[in-house]
Each structure stands twice: as C-alpha cells, then as structure tokens.
Symmetry: C2
Subunit: 256 residues, 2 copies
C-alpha cells in the first residue's frame, strides 16, 4: 500500500478581515506568510466568518422589528426577539424550538442552529447588537478563492468554507463544509469491493465534511483561533462537488 498521510496546518498571521477585503488575497498572503508553496491536490479550509466579514454580511439588530412569530419563538427559546427575527429571515423552515435551542433549515438548505448567525468573533464592527450572517453563496465564495489562487499562484486548490454544527444525537460541535469547490465532496463507494472482495454496503463518504472536521482541530474557536487551514495529502477519487452536494434533500430527511 502506498503511504497515506494527511496533514492540517493552521496558517499564522491572518489579519482581521473587513468588508470589501478579498478572501482570495487573504488566503494567498497567509500561504506566503506560512512559507507554503501550494501544490496540486492541496485544500484550503476557510472559516465561514472571514468570508462573511469580507462580504459585509453584518446586520444591526437595532434596526430589526420582530414579527409576532419571532416574538413567540423568542419567549420559547429565551433568545432576543430581534435575533430570532433575523434567524427566520435567513430560514426556509423551523425544525426545532426549545429553551435555548432554535434549529432551522437555512434558505441554502443547511439544517443548523440559529441559521448560522454568529454573535462571537465577529470583530469590533459595532456594538453588541451586530450579528454576522452566513456568506450569501458559500460555494461561489469557495470557487472565487480557488480562482484567485489559480491566477496568483498557478495552482487551483480545493477550497472548503467551514462552520461548526451541532448534531441531534451527539454532544458537541464539529466543523462541516457549508461551501466547497475543486474537490470531491461526496465520494460514492457503491459497488467497490471491500477487503474480502465483497461489494460494500456503505454507500457514500462525506469527504469534504471530514476534511472540515479535521481542520476544526487546528482552527480552534477561542481567542487563539485561526481562520485558514492548509490541508495536504487527501487521496480520494471522485468528481468535484460543492457544499450543496452534502445537503440531504428534505424528502430524504430521516425525520420525515
């Protein structure tokens, strides 16, 4: 068997990101600062927050008037009614409401807490009332970063835009891919033989989510968090996909 090793390295010295900054340029600068020469097959995992910030996806809750529905959910969850209103505006369906829990289907399809809206690590843009939405189109953001690298470094890496998600039956969050470009995100093993030459029951592997999860180990969440991770050594076949590929269609939702 050939050697199989995959390494995740946090890139140092990534500056704070402001609206209008080009995430591609930030990635290229971070690679240079980290002394990394991009190679074919490399992947960059970029925290959702820096993409959202660069796109100026800030909302000032002070300007939000909660609907009646948002106010009712705010009572049930114990959350700020203006925050709930913003979550509803980002969502196509409400999945679960409970004390301190608000899970919705984001308009992009992700079932997640608070429609992915953040109140921490969003920078000193405003007061406590500012929140940060998901990028408008994370797959497009990933493609744009890949293209920028192609133009300026001569190599198109795989790119994953990553955010941390809770899971219904397991404790704690893990990072997943909310956007992706230039790598196989879902690899189909159906029909491949197993070690005994038997066809695999196992069907599809969520490769981009696994890469995002591994990157989460060096991304961090606290004061020493870094928003970009370089990944080398992924060895999977399959066509490139995007983050949407990883969303289970609502009609296959295991709870319908």
């Amino acid at each position: 068997m050939r050697r199989r090793e995959i390494a995740f390295r946090a890139l140092p010295d990534v500056p704070d990101v402001a609206p209008g900054d080009n995430p591609g340029a930030i990635v290229v600068a971070a690679l240079r600062s980290g002394g990394i020469t991009l190679q074919s097959g490399d992947i960059l995992v970029v925290a959702q927050k820096i993409v959202s910030k660069s796109e100026g996806r800030f909302v000032d809750l002070a300007g939000i008037v909660p609907s009646q529905r948002a106010s009712a959910i705010a009572v049930e969850t114990g959350k700020d009614p203006r925050f709930v209103e913003q979550v509803l505006r980002e969502s196509s369906a409400v999945v679960r409401v409970a004390p301190n829990v608000l899970i919705t289907r984001h308009r992009l399809g992700f079932v997640m807490a608070n429609a992915g809206i953040d109140r921490s690590n969003i920078g000193a843009t405003g007061g406590d009332d500012w929140v940060l939405l998901l990028p408008a189109d994370p797959d497009a953001s990933a493609r744009a970063i890949g293209s920028y690298c192609a133009t300026h470094l001569g190599v198109t890496p795989g790119v994953i835009i990553s955010d941390s998600f809770g899971r219904p039956w397991r404790q704690g969050v893990v990072n997943v891919a909310i956007g992706a470009a230039g790598l196989p995100v879902l690899v189909d093993l159906r029909g491949h033989p197993d070690r005994d030459g038997r066809a695999l029951q196992m069907t599809q592997v969520a490769v981009a989510d696994a890469v995002a999860a591994g990157a989460g180990l060096v991304l961090g969440e606290a004061a020493d968090s870094v928003p970009i991770v370089h990944v080398r050594g992924l060895d999977w076949w399959g066509p490139a996909g995007d983050g949407q590929t990883l969303i289970r269609p609502p009609e296959e939702d295991l709870f319908r």
Copy 2:
C-alpha cells in the same frame, strides 16, 4: 501563535484479525512496522471492525429466528428478517424505519444505522450469513489498547475506536468515536473569550469525533482500507473522557 499542525498517518501492513487476537499487540506491531516512535499526546484511531473481530463478535444469521416485530420491520425496510432481529437485539429503541433504512438506538446509546452491525469487510470467517457486532464495551477496548502501549512502549496514547455514521440532514457518512480513552473527547469552551474578548456562545467541541473524522480520510472503506491511523499534533485542553461522553442524553435528543 505557536505552530499548529495535526497529521493523520495510516499504518501499513496491518494483518487480518482473528478472534482472540490482542488489538493492543496489533497496534504495537503496526507502529513498529510503520517506523513510528510513540510520543506523549499521540492518538491512535482504530477501526471498530478489528476490535470487534478480535473480540469474536460474529453472529451467524443462520441461527437467528426472527420475531414477529423483526419480520414486520424487515418488510418495511426490505432487509433480511434475521438481520433485523439481530439489530433489535443490539438496540434499546427503534428510531426510524423506512425502505432500506433502519436506525436504532444501540444499547450503548449510539443512534446509528443497523445498530452498527456490519456485513462487509468482516473477513472470511464464514459464509454470507455472518455479521459482525460492535465491540461489547468500546471504551474498555480503547483503554486496553492504551494500557498495552504503556506496558510495551512506555507511552500511553489516546485511543479512539471509530466507526462511520450517517447524519440525518447531511449526505454521506463520516467517522465518529464510538469508544475513547486517554484524550479529551468533549472540550468545553463555555466562558472562554473569543478573538474580540467576548465570551463564546459556542459551548462544547466534539474533539474525539473530529479526530475520528480526520482519520477516516486515510482509513478508507474499500479494498485498500487500513484499520489503524496514527495521529500527532492534537493540541486541546480538557480532561480525558470516553466515547459515551459524546452521546447526547435521550432527554436532550433534539427530536423529543
């Protein structure tokens, strides 16, 4: 910031495992074969299958008489009624039944497809009727592997027993930790400051699941799968836990 890098390396030359083999001895031999000197802080991710095989967790479906309930679920799912019966015997609750879908709560607490019972990659123990159950106590299996390494190599690594799980709202499987010992499996960040000095909303990070997911990228599922992955560079604080720590208590199940 200090350098943060985590590397996952598949160990070569792991032989087929038979009932009665010592997984600790298999791990130590694989480390030697891979030329790896274990260091403090290293983690070994071990595929559930080799632990189950070493424990002889095989069942011959030919000896199983399906109950009426199993037969009814077999019709709904299109699965072998004897297989369904064995799944039910391993489970404390049925979560979801649909064509080709049988999700239960395993008696150890994991909500997963088919109670984790495998029909692929289980070796040439018998005919097509043999299946392989999860290890009897995966946390104890992880501890035993760690102890064996301590005795024979002088270092106690973190150990994760890993299996691949589907997710209700996302396509594809990722690896998670069904057993663990000697590492922080769930790291609590509540109250830690974020980059802006603000307390994190984010609460707990499923570190062991993220390590298992990353390891899954080199473990593989098909004919060239390797059952042991060496992980170096995990840099998280927090007390050691076990795989059970990662199970969301049923009363916190997001679907109750």
